[in-house]
């Protein structure tokens, strides 16, 4: 038997080793290394919800699953493109990245990636952004699986989706995307007058429109399953919808399409989940804008990124707002790439236009409440991908300063990591006022597995009845 003193020595030496390691870590974490970015954060990644439906989308819709994997790789890669290449090289980088994304989409990988695997530099600089993205991509997987799993009876889909949403929101509070409509979270984020806003879409239009395509693809695949139900019609609807990708890639959307536009039935079944995806897709765009901006250090960028991640996460009362959005094309057919999906006019630009109207009285040099035509025109040009004739260079803020040089701005709100609480409050009040009489989006009956009819392209009925035919296969 070893002597007691020897054991004590062993214990002491073990404690010394462990204590030293902790001391080193603490010292490194609390010391701002000269010239280095030395923030400290924990990984805090929860496991996904385990249910029998896991991997059903992978098993049933292999090609679309792989397409999604390629889209997520593109998202990851774009971060490092922006952080590791100068803005001056934007044309070359944009062409190179777009070509890569198209190639990957044509020859997709077998398995979806985590952001860190394909954008590792950015992940080291701002882990929490990847945490938010990966966690929400996992929610994509979960909710696709629920719809794809024929073992879940159609009337049970909504309940299973609710469980998945609950897991998503509860397991990563503060980082999970909010279930509130984008109208609310965009106003909270208050990015419109930041010095980076619109840089990505203006300087990297090909990559930007690839992601507009990606954000068309995701919702229409949900909606294809929603109009087809559990049976073999689902395989047909998903395949036909996915096959539209090439057409859409040739003539890409010029705006980020929202869930309410492209998956109205899914949004009625689970408005929380639909809003979560809008909030993720918008986060992608804002993150790219921030990373593209060269006026800030990496620490500044992280501060702003984390501010936006926070602002677009769930806040008290968000769950009461989940159905507070319009559905402009409630009977759209996801198998059809309609003209209204292509231009820059839509729900996204409406939200931006409204925010500008709400902000303007506080920014206007003469106190006028009406947004001048020149300002509205610059907003339209800046929200359009690429550089347009008549568009001023730089961000949206830069462009406005060119045409309204004495515009009133709160300097502190321009700083990285700082929001403008007053402006946000005014915008949210404006939104409440606008939507006071707007009916909430109704639920959808999931009592019966829907019957799939032939595609009804050109017939999506808008909410104001401006179009004719209603897509068949409506779930009632």
């Amino acid at each position: 038997m070893p002597s007691t003193p020897k054991r004590s020595c062993q214990l002491v030496s073990l404690m010394v080793v462990l204590g030293s390691a902790i001391a080193v870590l603490t010292a490194v974490a609390t010391t701002n290394l000269s010239g280095c970015s030395a923030h400290f954060e924990q990984r805090n990644m929860p496991a996904a919800l385990r249910r029998g439906y896991n991997t059903a989308f992978f098993d049933r819709h292999a090609r679309p699953y792989r397409a999604q994997a390629s889209i997520h790789i593109a998202h990851a890669v774009q971060h490092d493109y922006l952080l590791l290449t100068p803005l001056a090289d934007h044309a070359r980088v944009d062409a190179e990245s777009d070509a890569r994304y198209l190639s990957d989409f044509e020859n997709p990988p077998r398995i979806g990636p985590e952001m860190m695997t394909f954008g590792p530099h950015t992940g080291q600089a701002a882990w929490r952004v990847y945490q938010a993205i990966d966690w929400t991509h996992e929610h994509h997987d979960q909710t696709y699986d629920i719809l794809a799993d024929a073992g879940i009876p159609w009337p049970e889909k909504a309940r299973a989706t609710r469980d998945s949403v609950e897991w998503y929101l509860e397991r990563l509070r503060g980082t999970a995307r909010s279930p509130a409509p984008l109208d609310v979270t965009m106003r909270r984020a208050g990015t419109m007058m930041k010095p980076y806003f619109t840089l990505f879409r203006n300087q990297y239009p090909r990559s930007s429109t690839f992601f507009f395509f990606a954000h068309w693809w995701h919702p229409v695949i949900y909606e294809a399953m929603m109009i087809a139900g559990n049976d073999l019609e689902q395989d047909e609807a998903v395949a036909v919808t996915h096959a539209t990708s090439n057409q859409v890639l040739r003539d890409r959307p010029q705006r980020m399409l929202l869930s309410r536009e492209l998956m109205p039935r899914y949004a009625r079944m689970s408005p929380e989940s639909a809003n979560i995806f809008d909030n993720l897709h918008m986060l992608h765009g804002i993150v790219y804008d921030i990373l593209a901006y060269e006026g800030w250090s990496i620490d500044d960028k992280r501060a702003e990124l984390y501010r936006v991640v926070d602002a677009m996460s769930e806040k008290p009362g968000d769950r009461e707002l989940v159905r507070r959005f319009p559905e402009p094309f409630p009977t759209m057919d996801p198998r059809c790439y309609e003209p209204w999906m292509r231009g820059m006019d839509g729900e996204m630009s409406r939200i931006m236009r409204e925010m500008l109207e709400e902000m303007w009285p506080m920014m206007s040099p003469d106190g006028s409440r009406e947004v001048p035509a020149a300002v509205a025109e610059q907003a339209r040009l800046k929200l359009t991908p690429g550089q347009q004739p008549g568009e001023h260079p730089g961000s949206f803020h830069d462009a406005l300063m060119r045409i309204v040089p004495n515009m009133k701005m709160a300097p502190e709100s321009m700083r990285p990591g700082a929001g403008d609480a007053h402006m946000t409050k005014m915008m949210l009040e404006g939104w409440r006022s606008r939507t006071a009489n707007m009916p909430s989006v109704p639920g959808i009956s999931m009592a019966e597995d829907p019957k799939l009819a032939g595609p009804a392209c050109g017939g999506s009925a808008s909410i104001d009845g401006t179009s004719g035919d209603v897509a068949k296969g409506e779930t009632r």
Binding site: M45, A48, N54, F118, A125, D141
Partner: protein
Amino acid sequence: MKGRVQRRIQRAWILLAIAACASWPARSVFAVDHTNLEEGLPAEVTDAYPLEYLGREVQGRIQYRYTASAEHELWLEPRFEFGFPRNGQVSLKVPLFASFAGDDSEINLGRTSIELMYNFNQETLSIPALALAAGVEAPDTRDGGSFDPFGRAILTKMIPGSSLWHRVHLNALLQFNVAQDEEEGERELRYVLVVGYDVRLGTTVTGVIDAVRERPLLDEPPGNYGELGVRLQLTPLIALAFGGGAGASDEGRFIARATTAFQWFAF
């Protein structure tokens, strides 16, 4: 008397492992884990990151070893990992091995171990990820031994300024021989030092390379070897690993190993 107690303890470990298998739920989840290095899958080097919180994983490896004492050994090692607490993981390893020397062969239960690893931080551009682990190994059925505690420090750092996704790792393990038998030449301390590198080779494949120095508790010369391997994500649930390595003991005797392994984000 002492041997009987040891055998009972070993049986208890085996029953515990079987119970853990049997009680696991039945289907799996989204996961991409080929980038999350695990000790011995296929190389000794591991990274500083645990499973996700409340994640569960079954792992298994089959390893051939040619030892410094000219024995051929075949190891079969099932493992179970559980992501608990947050930023930590608990792992249980129950190795079985068959050894062949000349005409003699025998099958034994190896050193069953349980280990708690805790990750302190996500790496940043300047700070590596640090994890510390502590565990205990039970006696095996060939050499006996005691319940020997060990501690492990793991550092992982991505090489910044690159989109390639490649990382360096440092691992240091220190184990105490609680019931050192000095007459048998047993050492008081065992250590394993590993420096490793892994790199993304494709969308679902990573390569790993490491150099290892290990001084065992038993009266055997320390070994020095290098390993090379690949890790492949086969489905969202299954990752495979293949690798091998070779080197020499301090006395210049040849040693080698070859490994095939899987990780299953099962149940």
